[in-house]
Symmetry: C2
Subunit: 552 residues, 2 copies
């Protein structure tokens, strides 16, 4: 039996568009000799639909679309499509997260998800009742165990001080292997994390090895607001080798032969996971492209400061949207160094991006005059720094409003963590591109961008970072070097280690505690962040929920 893995990029709620893609994929699969086509989790509506799942008409439409799909495709081909299903029982949550098996123009069988991830960015128990009955799909002379994403993650292999190997009291695979299936099919919507690529692969290769059964894993590709799904679907043979892998960060369709997977006849050719920073770069580019494409936007703006963050953001945006769709502002003040402007001009010209230079000195002076009656002889402080950042925010938003450009936020994860940034100033924007990228990785991205040719002027990469909001300011005036800072932040944020367990950073305890206190105290700023493209295992935003008002 030949099985097609159809890895598509869906727009949530765009039923017509999603269905049309699926119809076309089935046609392509059939012409490739496939008798079974597998789509990803909740593919009929796109994942994650969030509280749209609480709308009865949304669920009803999903059901109608699945039936329409069944009637539109070749009746001889079997199709597994993900979608929400009304719980036919009178108790429990109203929905199941289901996989519909289509054949002969109809829905023939329904399989339901048993393990509902409700951690980090996942909220599946908010909507779905877990499945407790385990049945098998018999089709084309094969017994197939149909699972949905987390169902094969009964063991949670992630590191962390507070992780748990067995998060669930049921184990769907153990139930399903009793049926002696010829293969396990997994419809997934598994978001990208640059720290988890090896782990994700080992889940499938490990299970295949343990049970001596091939695994067919179909992930979705594409970004859904902040969540990035890398694709990278796989067929793993019964000896636990990656026999086939689909593209990363784009749609793809491949047909695999189940018998060959079962007999281990594949030439398993390594199929290595691409390099980490290269994947992060592709993830962010796709994140920008899908945010704009799916929203119906084409053009963006941002403020070029002369620093590394706005430079990398611009380079990635140019890759995603095309330089002709970008228009940026340089907004020097009296504290800006000359090279900030010249480096930015060079960058914009390297990329072919339209730019304007709008000095903010006279606006800043006018603000200070206006506030003089209130502030009197009080000394300058952070207030005046913030006023400048908010003048820039106002100018960028004015350009955005007038020209129909979306403002991209340029803050990185390190400064977002410790609260370096001005609410309503440089923290503004419709989408944060680097908000999940630590400063050290921003540099790595810059070098990656420059690997073909010098897009980002070298001086932007080599000069010491500065906010340039007061005379001769440097980031290191108040922070440790970024490589040390990032190690502390990653231990505290991604691995949730308390201060006294963060070691090996070369920093003393007092500095570590100071940094953690800064992270905690700036929760209120992050509450108002734009959506942040998520590339790590713990991003700021919806996957990290801490009380603002608390003592900890």
């Amino acid at each position: 039996m030949r099985v097609a893995i159809a890895q598509l990029n869906f727009l949530i709620g765009d039923f017509e568009g999603n269905r049309a893609k699926m119809v076309s994929a089935v046609r392509q699969a059939v012409s490739g000799g496939a008798s079974l086509v597998v789509f990803s989790e909740l593919s009929i509506c796109g994942y994650p639909p969030l509280d749209l799942l609480e709308r009865k008409e949304f669920i009803t439409r999903c059901g109608q679309q699945v039936e329409m799909l069944a009637s539109e495709i070749d009746p001889g081909t079997g199709v597994l499509v993900g979608g929400p299903e009304f719980n036919p029982g009178s108790e429990g949550k109203l929905l199941y997260n289901a996989a519909f098996f289509l054949h002969g123009g109809k829905i023939r069988q329904v399989f339901r998800k048993s393990l509902l991830p409700t951690y980090d960015i996942f909220d599946e128990y908010r909507y779905f009742e877990p499945n407790r009955d385990f049945s098998i799909l018999e089709f084309g002379g094969k017994r197939l165990a149909v699972t949905i994403c987390e169902d094969v993650w009964d063991e949670q292999p992630f590191e962390g001080t507070f992780s748990r190997s067995r998060l669930y009291i049921t184990n769907p695979l153990e139930e399903l292997v009793r049926h002696e299936p010829h293969a396990v099919i997994n419809l997934a919507a598994s978001p990208f994390s640059h720290q988890k690529m090896q782990v994700k692969q080992s889940i499938f290769t490990g299970k295949a090895t343990r049970y001596h059964i091939p695994f067919i894993y179909c992930n979705q590709a594409g970004a859904q607001t902040e969540l990035i799904f890398e694709g990278g679907s796989m067929a793993v043979d019964s000896r636990g080798r990656v026999a086939e892998r689909l593209s990363f960060f784009r749609e793809d369709l491949k047909v695999v032969d189940l018998d060959k997977l079962s007999s281990g006849q594949f030439q398993a050719a390594g199929h290595p996971v691409p390099d980490r920073i290269g994947m992060v770069r592709e993830a962010l580019v796709m994140g920008i492209r899908d945010y704009f494409g799916k929203m119906g936007f084409t053009r963006a703006t941002l403020g070029l400061s002369g620093g590394i963050d706005s430079a990398v953001t611009l380079a990635l945006a140019a890759e995603a949207l095309g330089p002709g769709n970008l228009r940026v502002l340089l907004m020097p003040s009296q504290y800006s160094s000359e090279h900030s402007v010249s480096d930015s001009v060079q960058l914009a010209e390297n990329l072919g991006v339209q730019y304007d230079i709008v000095p903010i000195g006279s606006l800043f002076d006018r603000f200070r005059e206006t506030l003089k009656p209130l502030f009197g002889e009080l000394p300058e402080d952070i207030t005046e720094e913030n006023i400048q950042a908010r003048i820039r925010g106002n100018l960028l938003m004015a350009l955005s409003n007038k020209m129909g450009l979306i403002l991209l936020n340029t803050s990185n994860k390190s400064e977002t963590a410790v609260g370096y940034g001005t609410l309503y100033g440089d923290l503004s924007g419709g989408l944060s591109v680097l908000g999940d990228v630590y400063k050290t990785d921003v540099y790595a991205l810059a070098r990656h961008v420059n690997s073909e040719r010098e897009v980002i002027p070298d001086h932007i990469i080599t000069k010491p970072p500065s906010a340039e909001l007061k005379p001769d300011q440097k980031d290191t005036d108040s922070l440790p070097p970024y490589d040390e800072l990032d190690r502390i932040l990653e231990a505290y944020i991604e691995r949730q280690q308390p201060a006294d367990r963060i070691t090996g950073t070369g920093l003393d305890k007092r500095m570590i505690e100071k940094i953690i206190r800064m992270v905690d105290q700036n929760e209120y700023k992050r509450y108002q962040n734009p959506p942040i493209l998520r590339i790590s295992s713990k991003a700021f935003g919806v996957g990290r929920r801490l009380p603002l008002v608390a003592r900890y």
Copy 2:
């Protein structure tokens, strides 16, 4: 047996402070003749601790604090205190949401929550494993069924197009009544909703009537960031009558006689729920007071526009913080009417609040000059309106930064819903006071505030609402009257009705669809809202999670 209901206001994570309050409450209860004291859900740490529950040392500290509490209180008194418990099993979530029974200086018994709300603002399945074993507390010659909040909500009585009467497949009360308990004890953290006060009471009176058992319900009081817990704990007798009710919106402790509750000897004197708007007012005042008090802030600012929203926000803030802790700005532009300033001055003087008048005309002119090279002869549009709003935001934040004041946001729910408001302008602030209050209720609040004396100048209440961002602007230029708008919004947001089921508003279908489209299209603005004090059954913020990028 006499039972004390100890309704306290906790600061999340403030173990020393929370425990000291409890020790003092036990002392007071004992002197009132109580042999059992009941605290609220997760009282040792305060509810909801959110992802602090993912930190091992946080859970360990909770356990230590419960043990310290046991050793500090009178050993002859029984105490039920809520806290997280490590799941001793090797499978399932790491924690239980537990009630610890303390007696004789030790933890004697542990009861675990079975029904874990995971909807709206609740995420309990994110952290906790549901209980499946049902045991009874035997103490002082009584059998007591110990439940935690949702455990008694096996039936969900809320209206809605997509609600479900039986959300859970287990029913803890049915299990527990087999033990023939003398009373049901409920440790709760049940947030305020002005639409749910009667329903909440009827849960307890209904269950007591059905099972002929008294119910003791202990809720927490106080606000936790956006969530407001009204207190209003109750003792319900075996005939289903409210025998005793604790205060709303403040700490309270009352001792009730279980034998009298069982025999129905109480003089059940009605105990009506206070009037709706009065409760909303108290809720918001407590919300402001706790946000500031628990954060360690004392002083606030806001922009007084001359409109009803900022006027009501100021009146409530003055009630919560004292007028001496407020300092406000009047920031007229060329489009401001004269009465906007004079009404605002009158209001500030009525309240005794310090104010400054800072005209923004010259700043606005300077922004237009600065942008002239970019904008050329393009006509004025929403851009210029937003520039004004962002100038005001910058001035308010500058005052906030320089003087250590917290900016209160003054937007109401109606305009937040349809996107009337400027990101980084009037949508700025540390806390949104009225973001869950529809405009019609803002007027009702104004009248309530004025019921004793005219605090808010009558002209602010009677004049037609206007943003005053362009000449002769009125809200009704582009929106239906607020009473009609609010009926549509309430149907769509609180009751999740689709456009074609919203009837009886007197508005045509096209207008309803237009409004719903405005709500949908402005999700991106609400993503960056400050925390909104929640007073309804569906507030914008954490309880309403919709994808930004979607078609619906």
